[in-house]
Symmetry: D2
């Protein structure tokens, strides 16, 4: 392929609605990327409807908006613009579990998605057989003891046949410097392998994420069609693959997971081809 | 779990919309199951909106309706009620490929999904480098020479980076008696393994199938909510898993893939739990 | 198949050499199984050459012999009769790493296999870049902090290209009651998935375990042929699969992982067929 | 890593025994590589014991020697120096199946490995239930009709619980130009996925191949130790990974599967590190 890059400011003009991945596009390990605040303000003023579509169930959309507060410009995004994989897990719990207690793995803040579905949230470490939990939700890789609580969760699943929901499909995530860490989706894959079972997963690249965000955009403006939407992401296998399958246009940015030097090789090896490649959303 | 079965006629009353899997629910290797015609007529007269949600891209929805013509009652289902995985592939081709020639593996009839997206369909066996094809679509396991054309498709994919679309996720399907055959999804998995690539797949259990059918039901009656929809299927890992993830109620029938004797073991081993279990849709 | 069981005492007569799996055959969560001591003594007196072939790198063969000390009869097995997956890892380190420092995950006792290869063993938690470690060995699931040390190990592997050795292929193991726990092989699979790399693994069902034990038996009696050896195990996918592939006869015992009620189903579903099925080695 | 290449003629001096992969090292799609004949003659005259260790069950070792006949120098290798994965399958059949009829997929010439185990070989296409076959052996990707015979083999396995042996683990192989084809190991993986079963596989990277060749070398010269053996191959994931796990030294050559430009990236990404890298065996 011909890896010519486009200026983001030029291509975005053709789209009414823009979906952004968070990490590697808007933020990095030091917080919001310098210049992104101005881009978001400019897009909003120019009439674009913008959403963050993120594999994250570690905190509520309200809490996530804190990352998008600028010292000068104030809040850049409202909670209704943040479509997290946790919201899909919440909908599932509300429609399929309905009442009772739900065990979870994650930080206390991540239990928001269980409580807002009208259910009682119990950390796996405190569950007893008498609790009669109706589901297990894997929300985050932090906030519990891996050795004790992963083994406890394994045996809880084996001794009941409650559904297991994974609210973030990512298997790893970047931390500071060049380092990575195992994400809750990676822990879930290990448990599926041990149990010979398949859990219910929410998150990119599954198209439900894009379907949910698209429904929000349509509720806002019923004239929106798929051809009016652009997904902007830094990862071929989640952002670009999923948005391609959903049928919307895609821009791969080189400000995160995929470096300029490896983009061409990765696109060619994976066969996952974005509509555009941009250096970043600042161009 | 307590595997008590329900009468289908009793539970279906609570749902405005019913999604049916085709094979093992409405049909078997000898054609439409005896008694199903009467059930479909009764459901329609009682005001239920019914859809067939099927992993099948071997022929067009129009051609599929031929299976649902009764000698006495005539046509039981119109083409607009048949939601096939081929339709999702067609939408993808229309939105992401747009123009040009597309190579395919399948029977000539399956090329309907390419042509109706406004594209030119070429069997893999007749593609030359000069054709400059823009995508490869795997539609069916029949209609081509496996040895020659699968190897030809492999090298076509390696020498270009065209997207590969798999219009049926099933890895096997039942044929007469107790026998099975490799489905196009199984052939696709082998090719993905050899290439180290991931193709774009359409079909249950992916929730796009349910999303598409739900959008049709909503277009018909905007008051429909997910809680008004029942998915009826014979396979836990596709029909029930996918509909659970999409957030609608499910009925497992024991007239196909899952026998009464194995249902309890399979539900418990897989953790995929249907809302109801019914002997068949005739009860 | 015809799941007729055989008396172990009758079939063992035909074999000069007997390989035993440890857990579920000789031991369970309460220690050595009642009656096993007498069987081992009887076999030894009758001239059978016996070995324990075990996926275990949590302690040295010497330490493992402590499990086989009977209050009345004394030591039932010498360390030379215990063939652990740790020994294969040790041989690998000695032949391929040779000198320097090796990082490990496991209990301090498991570091025996590194030290006895003439290398310096460092727990992953204490490794610094300045240590210049030449390999990472995954020995046991205990003795370290999963969250901190698994993530640390991931980044150690990414920043070097040292070989990673997994000294126990098991993905889970039984603990008290009906409970299980993730084994070091399960943790290794998660790390391989995150890294997109394949580690070097030692343990059943890989045939190297049987090859190593067979070489010991041949060193003891050069007239021994493969047809003189019987592998006795409780797990189809490790003990029986591996010994089948190595070309020796196999007896599945129903005293551990595989219950009498599920044996026939499991054999038929897996296609892994033992030469004999015995209730236990006490029959 | 520092990808400095070594002259093969210099490093080979340190090894009494040399194992060669065939394709990409000694041969390519046009036959024996120019200059290889002289190298093999020189090595033999210098007293090195040489073996070809190859994933190939398409023809007998005798037939394979025909590839190593030089117009001037005559036969370069005797059949006893060719260690094929077919030989391991033959040993398995002899020790575990013993008598009766065995179904196979492959060319008629590949049935050598069944017949030389004293068994009757029937092509899958001609097997009837009355034949009562005792095993199925997958030998080669050619010589049968993929569609008809792979589906026939699937149902033969489902209706019996005969062992299935795969005599070549490769999932693809190079053909002329830059093209590849699915190998019998790839077909086997598809069938395992459809059936939910694991077949018995013989071939690199499994260490049994190296163990078998090492036993031949030891029979020839009982003083040989693992440190006297060098494996020379062009593929990291089979030749180098397997020989590393077996504990012998390795030389990656850049005359086949792994190009000079990609070797460093592949070694670093896979963590599979050869002892040496050589341009070819002609250096």
């Amino acid at each position: 392929m011909n890896l010519s890059t486009h200026a983001f400011s030029q291509i975005v003009k053709h789209y009414k609605v823009v979906f952004f991945d968070a990490y590697g596009v808007l933020k990095n390990s030091r917080g919001i990327i310098s210049g992104v605040a101005e881009t978001l303000l400019w897009l909003t003023r120019a009439g674009h409807d913008i959403y963050v579509v993120t594999n994250d169930a570690s905190k509520s959309p309200d809490a996530m908006t804190q990352s998008y507060v600028h010292p000068e410009y104030g809040s850049l995004l409202s909670a209704s613009r943040i479509i997290s994989s946790g919201l899909l897990a919440k909908d599932f719990l509300r429609s399929k579990v309905r009442t009772g207690r739900v065990a979870y793995l994650g930080k206390p803040g991540s239990a928001f998605y269980i409580k807002s579905a009208g259910l009682e949230a119990l950390p796996v470490g405190s569950v007893t057989p008498a609790d009669g939990v109706s589901a297990l939700v894997m929300l985050d890789d932090e906030g519990f003891d891996w050795f004790g609580d992963l083994n406890r969760a394994l045996n809880l699943i084996r001794s009941t046949n409650i559904p297991v929901v994974v609210a973030n499909t990512d298997i790893s995530y970047p931390v500071s410097g060049n380092e990575i860490a195992v994400a809750v989706g990676g822990l879930a894959s290990m448990m599926e392998m041990v149990l010979g079972r398949r859990f219910i997963r929410f998150g990119k690249p599954d198209t439900m994420m894009f379907s949910y965000a698209f429904a929000c955009a349509c509720a806002n403006d019923p004239s929106v069609a798929k051809s009016d939407v652009l997904m902007v992401g830094d990862t071929l296998t989640t952002d670009i693959y999923g948005a391609n399958a959903f049928g919307i246009d895609t821009a791969l940015v080189l400000s995160g997971n995929t470096s300029a030097s490896s983009a061409e090789v990765q696109i060619s090896a994976s066969g996952i081809v974005p509509t555009y490649v941009c250096e970043s959303i600042l161009t």
